[in-house]
């Protein structure tokens, strides 16, 4: 494997390790206070509009970043595992999507202004 490519992969997986550490270890300590929009909605009295609305998509596997079955007994673990699962899943989805989108080897490179990002 070309050294340069290998070095990018090392950087990528080191970065992924940092992201996983954040999701796994730090996320259970994240603030559970309402975020900016929720707080405004509570203060200005329109949070009910969301609370009274049934979610249009009710099949989230991990609702509210808590692994189902653990959120009562081990809330911190439920959050940590949700973070781990989400981070790894989105890493794989994004890599797969990028490979699908990337111009395949051998396809003619179209030289346009601001065109292909080449090294």
């Amino acid at each position: 494997m070309e050294a340069r490519k290998k070095s990018i992969l090392i950087f990528t997986f080191a970065g992924l390790a940092v992201a996983i550490a954040l999701a796994l270890i730090v996320s259970p300590w994240a603030s559970s206070s309402p975020d900016g929009l929720e707080k405004v909605a509570e203060d200005k009295g329109f949070i009910e509009k969301a609370e009274e609305t049934d979610p249009a998509w009710g099949s989230s596997p991990v609702p509210d970043y808590a692994m189902p079955g653990l959120e009562e007994s081990h809330p911190a673990l439920a959050t940590a595992l949700a973070g781990l699962a989400g981070t790894v899943a989105i890493f794989l989805i994004a890599w797969g999507l990028a490979l699908v989108l990337k111009k395949k080897e051998g396809e003619a490179k179209v030289e346009a202004p601001g065109g292909p990002a080449t090294e």
Binding site: S32, G86, L97, P116, A117
Partner: protein, 225 residues
Amino acid sequence: MHIPDGFLSTGVSVTTGVVAAGAVGYGLYRAREELDEKSVPMLALCAAFVFAAQMLNFPVAGGTSGHFLGGILVAVLLGPWLGELVIALVLLVQCLGFADGGITALGANVFNMAVIGTILAFYIFYGIKTILPKGRTYFLASVAIASWCSVMLASGAAAVELAISGTTPLSVALPAMLGVHAIIGVGEAVITVLVVGVVLAVRPDLVRAYDYQQPIPRFEEAEVG
């Protein structure tokens, strides 16, 4: 600032959805040209990092929390179009996988955070960077200012959408949203500068917008990076 189901009118949901879909479609078109051996793993890393970092709500004043957005981070690392795709993918996964942000508001959330908070904010970054002298310090200063602007503009857009939807008047929503996000935006700027600073120290070639090694190109050429 993920908008849940129930806050937006059908008109606002559809309009923002159409604009967001157009922007994502153009991003996918650009991705075909821009993705290479370097940016494929970086795109995956950016998506994973932004997802993880968005889970980490930090406390701000008055019983409120804020979290990282990441629009400027990914745009500076990958360029505005790949960056937009990363933020849109994070929002899609959060919505479908974690019930964070309503699916009827997905278009608005993508519009606010991926179009306004990433693409538009990147051009603000680019403008500031062009005006300021060359160098790492000024580059990071541009990153900081644009990061704050990214959060402010995205939250302002959300306030406008709430007002047009008749959820709450603009005179109420806009100052309240901008007020709290002015603080959250400082957190955004700190995190973005830290992460971009680390990448610049380790692998400056992976920061696509850091193009001082060559003569300053025009924007279109800068994207070649």
